[in-house]
C-alpha cells in the first residue's frame, strides 16, 4: 500500500529513502546505482525499494474524484 517503514528482514529504516529513490529512478538513473548511493547494501533492504509499488496513490484517486464531484454539486446547487 505505502512504503514500509523498515526492511521486513533485517529491520533497517528504509521508509525515508523511498521518495528520493522513486524520484531518481524516474529521471532515468540506474536503480542499482541509486540504491548504492543511498547506502542500502544488503539485498533484503534493496528489494524493499526495488519491488515496491505505491498502491495508496491509486486508492487515493477515488477520494480525490469524490471530493471533486462534491465540489461540483455544491457549485451547481448554489446557482
Amino acid at each position: 500500500m505505502i512504503i514500509p517503514v523498515r526492511c521486513f528482514t533485517c529491520g533497517k529504516l528504509i521508509g525515508d529513502k523511498w521518495e528520493e529513490f522513486a524520484r531518481r529512478v524516474k529521471t532515468g538513473e540506474d536503480a542499482g546505482e541509486v540504491l548504492d548511493s543511498l547506502g542500502i547494501k544488503r539485498y533484503c533492504c534493496r528489494r524493499m525499494l526495488l519491488s515496491h509499488v505505491e498502491i495508496i496513490d491509486e486508492v487515493l484517486r477515488f477520494y480525490e474524484e469524490a471530493e471533486k464531484r462534491k465540489e461540483a454539486r455544491s457549485y451547481y446547487y448554489q446557482q
Binding site: R6, C10, D16, Y63, E64
Partner: protein, 266 residues
C-alpha cells in the same frame, strides 16, 4: 576498528565464541531503546486502518535518551500508564485542506525535543483532500526480546578473523586464486600472491579449491580467539553506546548468575 555513521566494526581479540555470542544476543534482545508503544487515535479518516497507522508509528526509530528515562517495569511510579520518567507523548494533528498530502514522521510533535524520530522523512500516511488524522502516541523504553521495534540495531554480526597462509615454495603465482575470489582478497604482486584485504575474506575456500597444486599452496583458516564484530544501529542510539550497554548488561547477568550458584551451595 572503523565507524561510519550508524555502522561500526570492531576487532575483538582474546575471547571465545560463547562470550561473543552472548554479547551479540544482548545487543539484539536486551539493550533498551525508545519506540511508540500505545496510540490513541482521536480521528482517522485516512485510507489506512487505525491498526496499520499504529504499527507504522511503532516501527519509527526514535532517538533515545537512556540516562533520563527508565524502563516502565523498573520505574518508581509502578503505574501501568507511566509517568514523566518512563513515557514520552507524541501528538499528530493533520488535515488535508487543499489537495493530497503526505504526513511525515517529522510532523510528530514530541513533548521532549530530545526524543524525536531518527528521520523526519518517513511517510506515515497519505491524506486526500478533506481527510483527517489526529492521534496521541505514547513512546516508552523496551527491549528487543519483547518486540523487534525495540531493537537498537538492524544487524549485529560476528565472524572469525581469517588467516591466510600461502606456501611460498610451492606457489607459482598462477593467479587463479586471485581471479576466483569473490571478495578480491588476494592480489598478484610480481611473482608472488599477496593478501590485499584480509578482513574481507568470507572463508569460502574457493581459492584453495582452484589451486592446481596438490596439496594446495594456499590455505585458508581462522584465528581461534579473534573476531570481527559488526553492528548497524537504527539511529536510536550511537553504535558505541549500544556496545557499552550490552557489556554492562552482560556483567549484571553474570553477577546474578554467580549469586544464584552460591545460594545453591549453602
Amino acid at each position: 576498528m572503523e565507524k561510519d555513521g550508524n555502522t561500526m566494526r570492531l576487532l575483538i581479540k582474546g575471547v571465545d565464541t560463547p562470550f561473543i555470542n552472548a554479547l551479540r544476543r544482548n545487543v539484539l534482545a536486551e539493550v533498551p531503546c525508545m519506540a511508540i508503544d500505545e496510540v490513541v487515535i482521536i480521528e482517522n479518516s485516512s485510507v489506512l486502518h487505525d491498526e496499520i497507522i499504529a504499527h507504522r508509528l511503532g516501527l519509527i526509530p526514535l532517538k533515545t535518551d537512556l540516562d533520563s528515562y527508565n524502563l516502565p517495569e523498573e520505574c518508581s511510579c509502578k503505574s501501568e500508564f507511566g509517568c514523566n520518567l518512563c513515557r514520552v507523548t507524541l501528538t499528530l494533528d493533520k488535515e488535508a485542506k487543499d489537495g493530497t498530502i503526505t504526513v511525515y514522521s517529522g510532523e510528530l510533535i514530541s513533548e521532549n525535543p530530545n526524543i524525536v524520530p531518527v528521520s523526519d522523512a518517513i511517510p506515515i500516511v497519505k491524506l486526500a483532500k478533506g481527510q483527517k488524522l489526529r492521534l496521541e502516541a505514547y513512546a516508552r523504553l523496551g527491549r528487543g526480546k519483547d518486540h523487534a521495534k525495540w531493537q537498537p540495531v538492524s544487524t549485529c554480526t560476528y565472524k572469525y578473523l581469517p588467516r591466510i597462509n600461502i606456501d611460498a615454495e610451492s606457489c607459482d603465482a598462477c593467479g587463479k586464486c586471485v581471479e576466483i575470489c569473490p571478495r578480491k582478497v588476494l592480489a598478484k604482486k610480481g611473482d608472488k600472491i599477496e593478501v590485499r584485504d584480509l578482513l574481507a575474506c568470507s572463508l569460502c575456500q574457493d581459492c584453495a579449491d582452484v589451486c592446481p597444486k596438490e596439496p594446495p599452496a594456499i590455505k585458508i583458516g581462522w584465528e581461534e580467539n579473534a573476531f570481527i564484530f559488526g553492528l548497524e544501529s537504527t539511529g536510536a542510539l550511537p553504535p558505541e553506546r549500544i556496545m557499552i550497554e550490552a557489556v554492562k548488561i552482560l556483567k549484571k547477568q553474570l553477577k546474578e548468575f554467580a549469586s544464584q550458584i552460591e545460594v545453591q551451595k549453602a
